[in-house]
Structure formats: C-alpha cells, structure tokens
Amino acid sequence: MSVAVARHGDTGGFNRWADRRFKYLLIWPAVLILLLVGVFPFVNVLVVSFQDISLVFEDKSFAGLLNYKRLFTEARLWQAILHTVVFTLVALPIEFVLGLLMALLFVEPIRGRQVFLALLIIPTVISPIVAGATWRLMFDNQFGPINQILGWIAGEPVTIIWVLQKGFVWPAILVAEVWQWTPFMFLLLLAALSNVDKSQVEAAQIDGASKLRIFFRIVLPAIKPVLAIVLLIRGLDLFRLFDVVWALTQGGPGTRTETLSTYAYVQGFQQFEVSYTSAIAFVVVVLLSIAIVLALRRVEIAR
C-alpha cells in the first residue's frame, strides 16, 4: 500500500514537473527559430560593424570604432536622419487626423458602409513598392493624370516634374505615403471607437455635454491605448521609410529626399560599405528599441 502510494506520489510529482516543463518543450522550436533569425544576425551585425569590410575589400581584422566615428562625421547621414524625422513629424499627424476623421464618420451606421470600408482599405494591402511605382506613373510629368488634372484646373498645360523639381518632391512623397497608410490608421481607430462604452456617451449627452466635450473627455481617453499603439506603429514605419521614396525619387535629386533607410541602402548595396552599414543598422536598432520600450511604458502597456 505504502509502496503504491509512494509510486502514485512519484508519478504525480513527475506529472506536475512534466506539466510545468511541457510548455517549454512546445515553445523551444519557435524560440530557436527566433534566435536564429533575430539574434544571430543582430550579433553578426555588431561584429561586422567593428571590422572594415566592404564587398570589394574584405578586411576582417578588428577596426575599433572606425565606423562609429564615421557615423558622427558623415554630414549626409545626419541630413538623412533630419529628413526622416521631419517627414515623420509631418506625415504622422496628417495620417492620424485624417484617419480619425474618417473613423468618426464611419463609426455610426451609414448606407453602404461595408462597401466603402472595403474600398478604403485597399491602399493598405498594396505592396509599398508597387504603390510607389504607381504613384511615379501618377506623377509622371508627361503622361501622369495629376499634371493633366492640374492642367484642366489651370486652363493651360502643367509640366511639373514632381520627382525632380525643388518644392515638389517632398509633397509628392507625402501624398503617396498618406494615401497608402491613412487607411491603416482609420481601420484601427474605427475598431477602437466602436468599442467605446456607449452608456457613458449617452449619459454625458443626457447631462447636456457638447459633442466636443464628449469627444475629448470620454471618447479620446477611452481609445488612448489603441491610439498610442497606432501612433507607435506608424511612427516606426515612417522612421523606416524606404519604398515610396525609392520608387519615386531614389533619394534624389541629389540627396534632397534621402531618408535614413535609403541612405543605408545606398551605402550597403551601391557603395558596398558592409561594415559601415552594419554600424548604422546597429545604432538604429538600439535607438529604436529604446524608443519603443519608453513609449510602451509611457502608455502602460509593457506592464
């Protein structure tokens, strides 16, 4: 009897141990894959950034802080960062305001809502590089519809070279970017607005609160966590801005529309500066990781 109990007890202990450990057994392949595709390249980038490798010259000896020093002395890099930050600060509020206005419009039942919703989110599902190439055609000075429409309005032929002329290149990129990503903003904000507690809104209405007051005091606080995440995701996307710029201007004319990503691409794949590009990538990943953690803490999600 005692032996049986002991055996039973042993088995129970093993089962509990196995239960506790089984979950780890299940997730280890995924962890391994994540390590392989995430950590290994990250460590490799770090190692390479301390060497002096280009595709043409393969010097794998330790080069110290050579590439990091270059980061701080390369005016073109800082110009690209400035372009990226300014563009993010301009595009993000526009996308947010437009997305929010559209979401407020669609949160109440309107006729044909489903059809409009389906049409409005189409830009988001298009590949960014395809969208960029399409906008390049739209902005084509000879055959593009944009110049034609402007020509009809102006009453004379308009031949703006959108991808070259000073004063037009950034607006062209902005239009393409806002067109593609405002629907993303809209969709998430619409989902958030749909989940706002209607009883609170109704109570405020009964108490005679104005629409603006209801929006700022009830609706906005209620969607704040989603809003923060949406802004964070889009902010990060904008910081990595590449496709539409590459498709429209390739960072030109000169370096006028060069962003951090297009600069890194040129260094890595046109100038073949492997180690220097690794240093850029490492610094950007570290800075963005810090920014993400701080942002998540700020919106109390990380906890």
Binding site: S54, Q165, F272
Partner: protein, 476 residues
C-alpha cells in the same frame, strides 16, 4: 518561333562553316565540349531582353550540339555585380559563366572572382579570332593588368540618331543657315547640338515635335557626363595625386550645357530615361537623339517579334541617319564581356561555351537576333553582307558603329567604380533639381577623394594608371 530561329541558325552555321578539316573557333569549342556532355552550366545574364539570346537561341542550340545544358540565371543589371561578388565571397560556386560589365573587371579580378582565360585561349586556338574584335573592345574590355579575364561580347556605344528627311529638306537647310550661319548637319559640337535642338523646337514639322531628347535618368546619366567631360578636355583625376577633377570648369560647363539644352527638349525631359527617349523617337517626335545601337534596328522596323511588343511601332523607318555624337568620341557605356567564374566546377566547359558564343560564326547570328540587345562588335560583323542587307540603311548603320568602335571612350574603370559613379550621379541630379552645378560637383569631388582614400591611394593610382594606359581612356 524558337524552332524557326534555331532552324535559321543551323542553316547559317552550315553556310558559315569552313571546308571540312579546317575547324573554326565555334566548331573547335563544340568538339571539345562534347566530353562534358550531361553537365549543366549556370550562366548569369542581364534579366529581360538580353536573356532571350541564351534562353531562346544560343542555349538550346549549344545543348543540341554538345549535350551541355544551359541554365540561365537572369539578374537585373543593377544587381549583377553584387550577386557575382557575393556568390564569390560566399564560395558557393553557383555560377559558371558570367556576364561582366568591363568597368567591373578591376574589382572582380582583384577579388579573385574571375578565372584568367589566357591558358584556355591558347589551348583552343582562339587568340587569332580575338583580332577580329573591334580594337576598342578588344584592347580595353578584355584584360586587367595584362591578364585576359573576359571575351568582349557586346558592342555597346552611345551614338546619335537624326531625322535625315528633315535635315535634308532644302527649305529647312536654307532657314537654318540663315539663322545660325552654318549648314544644317549632324552636330560636330555640343553648341551646334543646342542650335539644332532650338531650330527644330521653334520650327516643328508637327505639334508635339521637339529638337532633341537625351537620356538623363539616374543610373545612366553618368555615362553621358563621362563622354562630354572628356570630349571637352576634362580629366577625371590628377594622375599624380589622384585628386578628383570633375568639379573643374569643364565639368560645371557640361552640366550647365545640359540645363541650357533642356529648354529645347520636351517638357520634363530632364528626368527622361531611355524608354521615354525611345518612345518619342519612334513616334517621330524628335529631330535628334542619343542611344545605344538597338534603335537603329528598331527604327527601321527590324525586329518585329512578339517579344519586342513594348517597342512602339516605328514611324521613322527609312528616315533615320546615324552619326557620332559631338566631339566624335562616343561613350562605350557598359557593354558585356563573357568571363569564367573562378569558383566554377566546370571552368573549361564554361570557357568553351563562351568561346562558342563569342566566335565570329555564332556571334554574327547573335547580333542579328532582333529581340536581343547584343550589338555588333567584330570587324567581320560590320563588314557582313548579310547584316548590311537587313534593311536599306543597315550598311550606313554598321559604318557608323564601326567608326564609333574606333574612337569610342572607355567607361571609367578603376577600383570601386560603382561608388564614384553613384556620387557623380547624385551631383548631376542635384544640379538638375536646382542646386548650383559648381556646388554639387564640388561635393562630388570631395566624395571621390574620400572614396580614393578609402580604396587606398596607391592601389587606386595603380588601377587608374592601368586604365589610362589603354588607348581609348581619353580622346586621342
């Protein structure tokens, strides 16, 4: 279509063959390659039209003759260098035969990515056949530091096309002479080019017609800079110090000249790429333009294959004259050499395929393929009666290409050429976008100096010395 082309090729090969017993280069390659029957050769080729040659013509024909299968690895031109070098660095041995733009040869040879070909050339008696290659390609696009790494296989060169019907119109000739004081003819100088552009833009034969258009898009514009800069007397570097000289008055003058010419080109032409220029030309909307050799064929209507459906129907057939660009020293602008990968496990077979492709017999057929982009590069091709009879003006076309091959200017080809080209291109587009050309070129020159420093002053000096020692590095 494929069968018809192959049948045509087989007939041509038999016709071109010398008497039995006296094997030509193509036959020698085929005979020797039979020992490798059953293997597959991986061959890199520029993606798109270029690749139709090995895919539809030479590849199947080689397999039929030798039993060696050809696997064409199509790679966009912008990635061809990177992939070639990356595979070499990784030691994959993924490629056997390489299409190499000659300007890349120093970097690829120094990296050890290319197999020296001298031994194969001697073994298979190909040295004499190389003498038939036009000197500008043979002497400049084949070797680095005295060793042969590639067989020049494409007669790329930027020539001018003009509307000879309009240039030959007596009323226009008189009007032009009265306005500008000299005869209306293909321009000898860029100042004349601007006059001609102005005249035709101001006196168009129909609405939407302009004097000229040239390729101005990033990625290609540096070729035109290289040509005009040298024709005007510029030198890229001070050969003693390797300080960049592109920001000299000559360099600034080139860009200022372009900007002035844009006034007489179609609206937006300052951003036009090759396709826009080609479209306007074939539509009959330009008096003069510059391009590689293919529009000479397409303008005449030669090349009416399904595969070329993206080319608009020519409205200028029979109306086209061919000329060298102002200064008479056209840019060779890319081109291709066939090279053997040093990492290949089938080097000899790869070389034999290259020799066969490049041989006078087979290459004559390849440069006549209406859908491919290989252009004539052998003396025997310029003199071929068969080619001269392809369309009424083909003889004149070939004579122009031959003249271009005598004076053609080499693309700058030193260590890390890509980086120099990229910096130069950025300066040019910045100037097109409104920046002061002097400022833009000063910045580019600074970048060139940094690149030189990065490469190593002495190494780069050596590479530059090798390059300028070639006959057509600068106008003679």
């Amino acid at each position: 279509m494929k069968k018809a082309v192959l049948a045509f090729a087989a007939v041509m090969l038999v016709g071109a063959s010398p008497p039995a017993g006296a094997q030509n280069a193509a036959e020698r390659a085929v005979e020797a390659a039979k020992q490798f029957a059953g293997i597959t050769l991986n061959v890199t080729w520029e993606a798109g039209l270029q690749a139709n040659d090995p895919l539809n013509f030479s590849g199947p024909m080689w397999e039929e003759l030798t039993g060696i299968k050809i696997n064409v690895v199509e790679i966009p031109i912008s990635e061809l260098f990177t992939k070639t070098l990356a595979e070499h660095r990784a030691g994959t041995g993924a490629f056997d035969l390489l299409n190499v733009v000659p300007a890349w040869m120093p970097d690829l040879a120094e990296a050890g990515a290319l197999e020296p070909l001298d031994a194969f050339i001697d073994k298979y008696g190909y040295r004499e056949d190389l003498q038939d290659i036009a000197p500008v390609y043979r002497d400049n696009q084949m070797a680095y530091q005295g060793t042969i790494y590639g067989l020049p296989d494409d007669g790329d060169v930027l020539i001018m096309y003009y509307r000879k019907d309009l240039f030959g119109d007596p009323a226009r000739q008189a009007a032009f002479k009265e306005r500008f004081g000299y005869d209306l003819a293909p321009p000898d100088t860029w100042a004349q080019f601007k006059d001609i552009s102005q005249y035709f833009t101001e006196n168009p034969p129909h609405e939407g017609f302009y004097g000229s258009a040239m390729i101005r898009s990033p990625g290609l514009i540096h070729y035109y800079f290289q040509e005009r800069f040298r024709v005007e007397g510029g030198e890229f570097f001070d050969a003693d110090t390797m300080k960049a000289q592109i920001n000299s008055d000559i360099g600034v003058g080139v860009i200022e000249g372009w900007i002035a010419e844009h006034e007489f080109m179609p609206p937006g032409a300052s951003a036009w790429g090759p396709i826009e220029v080609l479209n306007a030309w074939l539509a009959g909307d330009l008096a003069i333009m510059g391009w590689w050799p293919p529009p000479g064929r397409w303008s005449a209507g030669y090349g009416d294959f399904e595969i070329l459906s993206f080319v608009p129907e020519s409205k200028v057939a029979g109306k086209v004259g061919y000329a060298l660009p102002p200064g008479g020293a056209p840019e060779l602008a890319a081109g291709f050499s066939l090279a053997v990968s040093s990492g290949s496990k089938n080097k000899e077979a790869a070389y034999l395929f290259a020799q066969w492709l490049n041989s006078p017999e087979i290459s004559l057929q390849r440069v006549q393929l209406p859908y491919a982009l290989r252009d004539p590069f052998r003396i025997s091709q310029y003199e071929s009666e068969e080619y001269q009879n392809l369309w009424p003006d083909a003889k004149e076309y070939l004579e122009t290409l031959r003249a271009a091959a005598e004076t053609g200017l080499l693309d700058l080809s030193i260590r890390n050429t890509f980086a120099y080209e990229e910096a130069l291109t950025r300066a040019i587009t910045a100037a097109f976008g409104g920046e002061d050309p002097q400022k833009a070129l000063d910045r580019a020159a600074e970048e060139w100096d940094k690149i030189t420093e990065r490469v190593g002053l002495e190494d780069q000096k050596r590479a530059y010395a090798d390059w300028i020692s070639k006959p057509n590095a600068y106008p003679n």
